[in-house]
C-alpha cells in the first residue's frame, strides 16, 4: 500500500453555457492505489461522469477544468499539452464508455481499432500485432474476432473489445463510465469479472462510475459518494456501506431495495439542485434531515473521521461525530 497510483486534488469543472455557468464538479479530491476499484456513486447530474472525463482532460466544450490536479503515477495529466497529453491517454490513463453500440468505429474492423491504439503510441508493428491477439484473449474473446466489424458483435462482445483497446497499453488507471448499464445482468457479471481480473493481475486501478449502489457494494474496494458536484464521502467499501457517515449516503443506502430488509426502500425527498445556482454552503442542506445553521452558510471541509474514511459534513467537524 505504498504510493497512490491516482491522486485527484481539488478538481473543479464548470460548463460555461449560454444559460449560465454550471458548476458540475466542485473541488473533488480522492486517492486511489494499485488494484483499487473505486466506485464513484451518485445520481444523474451528480457530476460523476464529468469527473471521469476530467481525469483524462476530455471534458467537452463548453466545459472547462477550472482548477485541480490529476496525478497518475506521478504525472499531472492536467498539466500536459498537445502530443504529450495525447500519448498519456491510453498509456497512462484510459477510459471505457457506457454505450458499446456507438463507441466503436462502425466502418473498421475491431482488431484494427485496437492495433491503432498501439501503433499511435509508437509500438512497432509486429509487437503490436502480438499484443492485439494477447489482449483480445485476455478479455475472453477468440483471436479471430479481431477481423470482425462492430455490428457483427453483441453488446457484451463490443464492450470487451472496448476494454481490450483501453488496456492494450497497460495503463495505470482505467476510468469506466457505467460500462455495464447498457447490458443485461448476466453480461454485466462477466464484464465486471473481467475488470476484476485485470486489476488484480496488472495492478491497474479502476474508477468505476455508476449510479448502481448495489454494484458498487458488490465490486468496489473503495466508494466515493458524489452529490451535486461534490464528493461527500469517501472510504473503503465496508466502511461506507457498513457505517455510512454522510446523511446523503445513509439516505442513498435506504433508498435501494434490499431483499433482506423488512422495510420498503425510502426515496430521498426533494430533487437535485440546479448546478447553475447551487445551494449556498453545503449543497445537500435543502434535503438534509440533519441540516444545521452553519450548513446553509459554509461549505464543510473534508475530515478524516477514521483512517482512510473521509466525509464532508459539518456533523463531523471536530474529527468525530457531533450533534
Amino acid at each position: 500500500m505504498s504510493k497512490p497510483i491516482l491522486i485527484v486534488e481539488d478538481l473543479t469543472v464548470y460548463y460555461y453555457t449560454l444559460k449560465g455557468i454550471v458548476r458540475a464538479v466542485e473541488e473533488a479530491s480522492l486517492k486511489a492505489y494499485s488494484s483499487d476499484l473505486v466506485a464513484l456513486v451518485g445520481e444523474s447530474g451528480s457530476g460523476k461522469s464529468t469527473l471521469g472525463y476530467a481525469l483524462l482532460n476530455l471534458v467537452p466544450p463548453p466545459g472547462r477544468i477550472v482548477k485541480g490536479r490529476v496525478i497518475v503515477n506521478g504525472v499531472d495529466v492536467l498539466s500536459l499539452r498537445g502530443d504529450e497529453l495525447r500519448k498519456a491517454r491510453g498509456s497512462l490513463i484510459s477510459m471505457v464508455f457506457q454505450d458499446p453500440f456507438t463507441t466503436l468505429d462502425p466502418v473498421r474492423r475491431v482488431g484494427d481499432q485496437i492495433l491503432e491504439v498501439l501503433l499511435e503510441h509508437g509500438v512497432p508493428l509486429e509487437e503490436a500485432r502480438e499484443r492485439v491477439v494477447e489482449v483480445i484473449r485476455a478479455v475472453g474473446l477468440p483471436e479471430r474476432m479481431a477481423r470482425a466489424y462492430p455490428h457483427q458483435l453483441s453488446g457484451g462482445q463490443r464492450q470487451r473489445i472496448s476494454i481490450a483497446a483501453a488496456i492494450a497499453l497497460k495503463p495505470r488507471v482505467l476510468v469506466a463510465d457505467e460500462p455495464t448499464t447498457a447490458l443485461d445482468v448476466i453480461v454485466q457479471k462477466q464484464i465486471m469479472d473481467l475488470l476484476d481480473d485485470v486489476r488484480k493481475t496488472t495492478g491497474m486501478a479502476i474508477i468505476l462510475i455508476t449510479h448502481d449502489i448495489a454494484l458498487a457494494a458488490e465490486r468496489a474496494t473503495k466508494i466515493a459518494v458524489m452529490y451535486a458536484g461534490k464528493i461527500v464521502e469517501y472510504g473503503p467499501k465496508d466502511k461506507v456501506i457498513g457505517d455510512p457517515l454522510h446523511p446523503y449516503t445513509k439516505a442513498l443506502l435506504k433508498s435501494v431495495p434490499d431483499i433482506e430488509s423488512r422495510e420498503w426502500p425510502r426515496p430521498i425527498p426533494g430533487t437535485p439542485p440546479d448546478l447553475r445556482k447551487p445551494p449556498s454552503g453545503c449543497r445537500f442542506h435543502p434535503r438534509c434531515p440533519l441540516a444545521m445553521d452553519i450548513c446553509k452558510r459554509k461549505s464543510p471541509n473534508i475530515v478524516e473521521v477514521e483512517p482512510h474514511h473521509y466525509v464532508s459534513c459539518w456533523l463531523y467537524e471536530g474529527g468525530e461525530a457531533s450533534g
Partner: protein, 325 residues
C-alpha cells in the same frame, strides 16, 4: 435489382411519348414538302412505322437490346448506333470531369465548413453552396466564355480540341488518347478545352455536397466513437480521417442519386460549349424532329441511369461494411 423494371418503365414511357404521342412522325417532318403519299407510305414502311404499335414496341426493344438503334429518319440510312458510339466518349468524359470537379469543390468546402463550424466562413460556404445550385448552367458557361475566352483569352471558348494538333483517337477519350499516343500538344489542347465546361458543370452541382459533407462530418466528429478515439490517444489528424471516411458514405449515395442531374446538366453544358457529345446530338435531332434518333438517345440515358445506380450500390457496399455482411 430494380433497374430492370425501372428501365422498362422508362422505355415504355419513351415509346409512348416519342412514337405514339407525336402522331405520324413522317408526316411531321416531311409532310410539308410536296411528296406524293405513296412515297411517304414507302418511307413509313422502310422505317417500320406502319406496323401495329405493339409489334413496334417489342421489335424495337429487341433491336435495342442487340445494340441496334435503327437509322435516322432525316439523314436516310445513317445508323443511329454509329452516331451514338461516336459521340458517347465526349459526353462520358465531360460527365466524369464534371463529377470530379463538383466532388472536389463540394468535399473541400464541406470539410472546411465542418472544421470551422459556426464561424462566418462556415455560413459563407453554405450560402455559396446554395447559391451555386440555382445558377443557370448556360448562363454560367457563357459568362465563363466571355470572361476567360473572349476578354482574358486564357482558355478556348468552345469545342473539344484544337483540330490542328492531329490527335489519333484510340478510345475516343481525348485526354486519354493524347497520353497514349504521346501527343503532348493534343493533351494540353484537350485539357484546356475541358476546363471551362467541367468547371461550369461541376460548380453548379457542387452545392449539395457542401452541406452533405459538412453535416455528416460534424455528426461523425461529435459521435461517441470519435470521443473513444480521443480517449485512446489517437492523433487528431487520424481521427479526422476516420470521421471523414464515415462521413463519405452518404456522399457516395447522393452522387448516385444526382447522376440524373449530371446528365441533364451535361446536355446544357454541351450545347453551351459546342461540345460534340450525345447532348448536342440530342438537341440537333430535336430541331430536325428526328424521332428515332431522339428516342434512341433518351433510351441510352435511361440505361445509363440504371447502370450508374447499380455501380453506386456496389461502391456503397464497399465503403460500408454493415451492408456487406
Amino acid at each position: 435489382m430494380l433497374i430492370v423494371p425501372t428501365v422498362l418503365i422508362l422505355y415504355t414511357l419513351v415509346f409512348i411519348v416519342l412514337r405514339i404521342l407525336p402522331g405520324d412522325p413522317v408526316l411531321a417532318v416531311l409532310g410539308t414538302k410536296n411528296i406524293p403519299p405513296e412515297q411517304l407510305e414507302q418511307i413509313r414502311h422502310n422505317l417500320g412505322l406502319d406496323k401495329p404499335y405493339i409489334v413496334q414496341y417489342f421489335e424495337y426493344l429487341w433491336n435495342v437490346l442487340h445494340g441496334d438503334f435503327g437509322t435516322s429518319m432525316v439523314i436516310s440510312g445513317r445508323s443511329i448506333t454509329a452516331d451514338l458510339l461516336e459521340r458517347l466518349p465526349a459526353t462520358v468524359e465531360l460527365a466524369i470531369a464534371g463529377l470530379i470537379v463538383s466532388l472536389a469543390i463540394g468535399i473541400t468546402t464541406g470539410f472546411i465548413a465542418a472544421t470551422k463550424r459556426d464561424t462566418k466562413l462556415d455560413l459563407g460556404l453554405r450560402v455559396f453552396g446554395s447559391v451555386t445550385y440555382t445558377l443557370f448552367i448556360p448562363w454560367l458557361g457563357l459568362m465563363f466564355q466571355l470572361i476567360f475566352a473572349v476578354w482574358l483569352r486564357w482558355l478556348p471558348a468552345s469545342g473539344r480540341i484544337d483540330p490542328d494538333v492531329g490527335l489519333e483517337t484510340v478510345t475516343g477519350f481525348y485526354i486519354l488518347d493524347s497520353i497514349i499516343t504521346g501527343n503532348m500538344e493534343a493533351f494540353r489542347s484537350a485539357l484546356s478545352h475541358m476546363i471551362l465546361p467541367a468547371l461550369t458543370l461541376g460548380l453548379v452541382l457542387s452545392g449539395p455536397y457542401t452541406r452533405l459533407v459538412r453535416t455528416n462530418l460534424v455528426k461523425a466528429l461529435e459521435s461517441n466513437y470519435v470521443l473513444a478515439y480521443h480517449a485512446r490517444g489517437v492523433r487528431g489528424s487520424r481521427i479526422l480521417l476516420h470521421a471523414f471516411r464515415n462521413a463519405l458514405i452518404p456522399v457516395v449515395t447522393y452522387a448516385g442519386l444526382q447522376f440524373a442531374l449530371l446528365l441533364g446538366g451535361a446536355v446544357l453544358t454541351e450545347t453551351t460549349f459546342d461540345w460534340p457529345g450525345i447532348g448536342t446530338y440530342l438537341v440537333e435531332k430535336v430541331s430536325y424532329r428526328d424521332y428515332p434518333a431522339i428516342q434512341a438517345v433518351v433510351i441510352v440515358f435511361a440505361f445509363f441511369v440504371g447502370v450508374i445506380s447499380l455501380i453506386v450500390d456496389l461502391i456503397y457496399a464497399l465503403l460500408d461494411p454493415r451492408i456487406r455482411y
